[in-house]
Subunit: 396 residues, 2 copies
Amino acid sequence: MQFADRLDNVETSAIRELFKLLGKPGIISFAGGFPDSAMFDVDGIREAVNTALTEEAGGALQYGATEGYNPLREQLARFMTDKGASDVAPENLIVTTGSQQALDLLGKALISPGDKVFVEGPTFLATIQCFRLYGAELVSAPIDGEGVKVDELEALIAEHRPKFIYLIPTFGNPSGATLNLERRKKVLELAVKYQTLVIEDDPYGDLYFGAAPPPSLLNLSASVPGSRELLVHCGSLSKVLSPGLRVGWMIAPAELLAKATMCKQFSDAHTSTFAQATAAQYLKAGRMPATLAKVRAVYAERAQAMGQALRRELGDAIEFTQPQGGLFIWARLTGAGGKVGDGNVLAKRAIEKGVAFVPGAPFFCANPDHATLRLSFATADVAKIEEGVARLAQAL
Amino acid sequence: MQFADRLDNVETSAIRELFKLLGKPGIISFAGGFPDSAMFDVDGIREAVNTALTEEAGGALQYGATEGYNPLREQLARFMTDKGASDVAPENLIVTTGSQQALDLLGKALISPGDKVFVEGPTFLATIQCFRLYGAELVSAPIDGEGVKVDELEALIAEHRPKFIYLIPTFGNPSGATLNLERRKKVLELAVKYQTLVIEDDPYGDLYFGAAPPPSLLNLSASVPGSRELLVHCGSLSKVLSPGLRVGWMIAPAELLAKATMCKQFSDAHTSTFAQATAAQYLKAGRMPATLAKVRAVYAERAQAMGQALRRELGDAIEFTQPQGGLFIWARLTGAGGKVGDGNVLAKRAIEKGVAFVPGAPFFCANPDHATLRLSFATADVAKIEEGVARLAQAL
């Protein structure tokens, strides 16, 4: 069978092969990119779906508008406004089938084969493949612990004139890094200066452990004239409420939102109204603040436990910035004391010792740093984290 | 803002403009392509989702496999087997976000720009746009009341060597036509003879009013050696249970299924597990046969009422084949007695009289028949149908 040429641009994920090994009994996994199922507010979701089926069964079970179910769009606009975004009305956003679909719609609506698209090095794996399927030539913008390096970013923009710049500015996946305030302003200024579209993917911003992170690019855009018209903001309920609902959203300039909506019409017609009505009732019931407080506290404890254990057990063989939110510790093997310095090598040895994580190299679209690894602290409790890190030390 | 070149291949739907007029108070609509909300088994779905949240909350709310939630894949495989398909195991199908997504994934995985793709003339509007977005050059295969004309189809295959052939063989949208048994076999033989992939889109096959329609291409493929490896079958719960769940599925040869799954990974990661677990529990509870019996009886009555009213009120100014299933009457204005002979003209006049339908021309990817119209009998009750047809007669 002859497949579409665009499939030549993607490869089966190296990580997939690793995930096949995770079925080994007794393995402790730091490999996932998902929240802990034990955190799900099952009672709240049950109440929400039952209310939806009682009050609006027709809407919850019938076809709906491609743009999204209006009661949910209203709740999401309020959710964003409560978080400090100005001028987010229901008609400024569309609901997407998880934020993965927002990326797909952006690719479909914007990328012509050969277009340059910037991503952080490293960035979310599925973003790389998603944009490549539409023929994008990805350019890797370097980051440090404070997010993308804006001077290098500007030089790259001037050189490549990208179709758009994709960033996860807050508690990035896999980097855990958060773009500092000064750089955030600079990114918006660069967008205006070069008339370049910026995509802010923000699935983790609500998962902060101490102080709230700097304002989102969306929130800041109010103070950088012209930037709002060059900004897309993608949000998701997946990390804070439930990935299974597949409810994400995208705030974008009107013209782009219309094109993305048209693309969505032919992608899946609309996101499940059953899930949308449930999410709308959940938000309306006012349960989100308590849910957020709970998950923040649990993940904060786990992040601290993992950081302490890594420092204690692996010492100078590993270096990392302690994350202030999100799901991940992004670390680098130093090779100190003749220990393993390659993430891929360590991943295989770790599986033998009964602990799994994801090596960092595949997260780079170019020039991979083979010494890196991504460790999720989200799904194992503190005791498991300590045991897992001890096994990791044995594998070194 | 500069959008992707692929958007140049599609246009905003002419029908969309018409739909904007539907908000007019008191209008009777035959325009929709959806089931009647009053048919939804709300109690059954409520029981299903509550069971899912009690028995498998983790699975229903967490990320899931891109291929689909296994309990649902098992139920769907059984559902298909019960309908006479042989050798449908859970691993032979993937769950899609409505069958619209199956079309999108097929386009993504198979169509390179410039590839020829066959569709029926007329066919489902969103199919035309979906495939064009991937750069397909569509070729219209002519149909009559017995479905696609296989001799003309063979000549077109020999001439164009299409990437694949897309058919809605049973109670087609918009045609209402059902491919007869002899032609079904011939289509499968042509697939083998020319090694051409055939897509069978089957959202309406369960909605029959009297005798069951001929076996699906999927069922028949068992008796045409080599055809199963060249056949894709798309199914959906949208028309029989609830569109809002957005649960469809695709049965395809293994190699294609793997590529479609990879494409889906970057389209929406997976279909809502919340909706999938609900659908799985619904099927497992054994409620589907009663639900199907109910919707068949209601739509049969409405189809008959509309057919009778059309013959009575519009006489020789209209011609159509009385549908044996599905949601639609596809009709043709004859212009007899100096009456309106153009579907578009009639649509506008009809709105003035308080009744809406969709003109047929946009359903053709080429050589539109402007005399055609699509009338849905699904969402209005018998009294409304009779009133609506009387208004239609006034508009003629």
